[in-house]
């Protein structure tokens, strides 16, 4: 069957098998940042934006994405560069496998809520699993980025 969609700003038309998953379609298009972690909709590693909303590409049919706009990390380099250095500075990751999913969902979080509290960050990123770290480093990294950008969290315990 034929699908038409916008991938990272580029109009695409492709002939696909009806049961093809979006993750496999995207990887075949060269978007190798989109990775398969669990394939059971649990880990968040395969996160992409569909019409600006974060979704699990392992659980969406490429056919359903037809008519929509899909963005992967390949198309969002500038937005990611703003904060990924802060996460790296915290030594937040060990193997780094979870990173693309984290970065994608952090982009979605900051678009939706530019000045999140720590609890809001935790809640939004709860669907991104990391098997190496204890999540604190990533949180510190995002917090450091927000602080550097001049948005200080009001400490409820102060």
């Amino acid at each position: 069957m034929e699908i038409r969609l916008t991938l990272n700003g580029r109009q695409l038309r492709a002939e696909i098998e009806p049961a093809l998953l979006l993750i496999d379609f995207l990887r075949a298009q060269g978007c190798l940042s989109v990775k398969r972690g669990c394939e059971t909709a649990n880990c968040g590693l395969c996160t992409v934006l569909m019409d600006g909303v974060p979704v699990l590409s392992c659980s969406v049919l490429a056919a359903r994405a037809s008519g929509h706009s899909v963005q992967t990390l390949e198309g969002l380099q500038e937005e990611a560069e703003e904060f990924v250095g802060f996460i790296a500075d915290q030594g937040a990751e060990q193997c780094g496998f979870c990173n693309p999913g984290y970065v994608m969902n952090t982009i979605a979080l900051l678009r939706e809520n530019p000045n999140p509290t720590d609890d809001e960050i935790r809640a939004y990123l709860a669907g991104n699993l990391c098997r190496c770290s204890g999540y604190e480093g990533q949180l510190r990294g995002i917090r450091a980025f927000l602080n550097a950008r001049g948005t200080k969290e009001v400490n409820p315990h102060a």
């Binding site: 049961a19 909709a41 909303v53 659980s59 049919l61 359903r64 669907g127």
Partner: protein
Amino acid sequence: MLTFRQYLRPQTLDEAYALCQKRANLVLGGMLWLKMQNRTVDTVIDLCDLGLDQVEDLGEEWRIGAMVSLRTLETHPGLAASTHGAMADCLCHIVGVQFRNLATVGGSIYGRFGFSDPLTLFLALEAVVELHHAGDVPLADFVNQPYERDILTHVRLPKHPGRVAYLAQRNTATDFPVLTCAVAVGESGARCAIGARPMKACLVKLDLPESITPETAAAAGDRVAEQVTFGSNLRAGADYRRAICRVLVRRALLGCKEEE
């Protein structure tokens, strides 16, 4: 893995209903549950072109389209006001934001899963399910009906269900719940739904005195825990669930009181 030969997007509900009468065909909601199954079908029927992705304000009721995502419900200001925040409390622990952007109301309610958070809340809210063929069915009846080949088009929720509270217990964050509890205290009396027993959620009418106090709330919790049947699975045993049930019902009732 879910495998199939053909993907179709019907343009009318009649077309979708006709397609779903064939045993070899399957209706897709968010596909999250379906994808976990080992199944081969002929045709999958995607409802995404039928305009079922709206939350409508009908005055006295909310009418929620089957393809509305759980995340849309969670962040809807009107539903938050109607349910005193219980809608978000019920949905926010389900896997993650990306997941809830995909999972649909239709799939969640049609599925009538034992572990379901929204099924528990919607039961306490006295939801009505709209089926394309069978028409309106109270969720309290639908929950125990067999899985007929019909299209769930909408779910209606009353706009003023009274005071509402939702609580669930999980062994670990984002896991399936061990027990779910929703309480609504309205003009027509008090209702409590208990789910993840691990059987499907059930509805219990609560006999409450005029005012909710720590004592009357605890007594109501004890009565519900004795009345409801619990089972065991890998997440928890029946006795543990019963003990948790007492606590959740008491806390939910006190939560309703605080809103007074």
